[in-house]
Symmetry: C2
Subunit: 198 residues, 2 copies
């Protein structure tokens, strides 16, 4: 699918609207207007609104997984660097282009058919496996404390995901600086590094 055949261009408009207004609020008429046609014409390319949503979510997950997939079977390098890279990559996608402050995934999964939801959830699980693998590696390397990998992964992903709700690039901090901040926060925590800790 080339990036400028009608189907792909409709997807672009739909994606922007879903992120901006939410899946339930954005209407087929909105999408048609943004693309420049009448609503009925969209059905020459997609069979239902839900199919559009599915394509949007699948593309998003692919963009998320592609740059970090290789971390799954790379035991050699420093887990701290791997984690920083993962954070930076996820954050870049999360804050790329104006997506405005909606968390599409949270709400939209309910609107997918069971089989399609299963497919998206499987990709999300893949992401979870990757981040947990990096954490486990750090523990094995003796660089991370023996924390719960699942909980820790959730914490990191949560911080990144919610940046969309409050981050505005104009206000002082850049995306790269924010990525650096999160990495430092995750790795070193809040307390001053006294020898005894707490």
């Amino acid at each position: 699918m080339s990036r400028n055949d009608p189907k792909a261009r409709m997807l672009d408009k739909a994606r922007a609207l879903f992120w901006k207004k939410g899946y339930g609020v954005a209407t087929m008429r909105d999408i048609a207007r943004a693309y420049g046609c009448k609503p009925s014409n969209i059905y020459n390319y997609f069979s239902t609104k839900e199919e559009i949503l599915f394509e949007v979510l699948r593309e998003e997950m692919e963009h998320l997984l592609r740059p970090i997939r290789h971390l799954e079977h790379e035991s050699g390098s420093d887990a701290r660097d791997q984690l920083s890279q993962l954070i930076r990559s996820h954050l870049r996608l999360n804050l790329s282009y104006r997506r405005s402050g909606k968390l599409l995934f949270d709400v939209a999964l309910d609107h997918l058919s069971p089989s399609r939801r299963k497919e998206i959830v499987a990709m999300r699980d893949h992401y979870d496996r990757i981040i947990r693998g990096v954490i486990r590696r750090g523990i094995e390397q003796g660089r991370f404390r023996p924390v719960d990998e699942k909980l820790t992964g959730m914490m990191i992903a949560s911080m990144i995901t919610r940046t969309r709700m409050w981050f505005h690039p104009k206000k002082g901090v850049s995306v790269e600086e924010l990525a650096e901040f999160i990495s430092d926060f995750v790795l070193n925590g809040l307390c001053v590094p006294t020898g005894s800790g707490r």
Copy 2:
């Protein structure tokens, strides 16, 4: 407003439905059915659906602020303890009673009138001030590294807020254990406490 006059009982049903299905999906007919009356009767107690939403959100914010308000002007005690207490309190509310996996605030603010949105946002800002104050105090006490208070506050709130999306009490970890985990993660980070750090 007593807790079992019609208005309060309707609010309870509406709150449960808003959290479960989302504001847009839950209908007045749903609320009426849950309460046990016909939709039109609700308008004897609330003038619009949006007013119901506003009451739900306001109550929620009050429950969030009440237990942590006192931290705003308590410079005496250890900021680490204050932060742990704030995390525990917020997490308890966030995971109290079955709210199911929707993040109501994210999506529902758009459906409020400007003046009502302003009121809710003001309460959210109050929460932000409290958590940033605790962080600043920790820095002044020399117990926290000199981090950006705003970013750090966002990170902590994000971790707590998103627990609603994935936390299930049955699966191993209790709410209190999770609060303890988050506090430790925030304070000490992921890395082993080597003297040199990184």
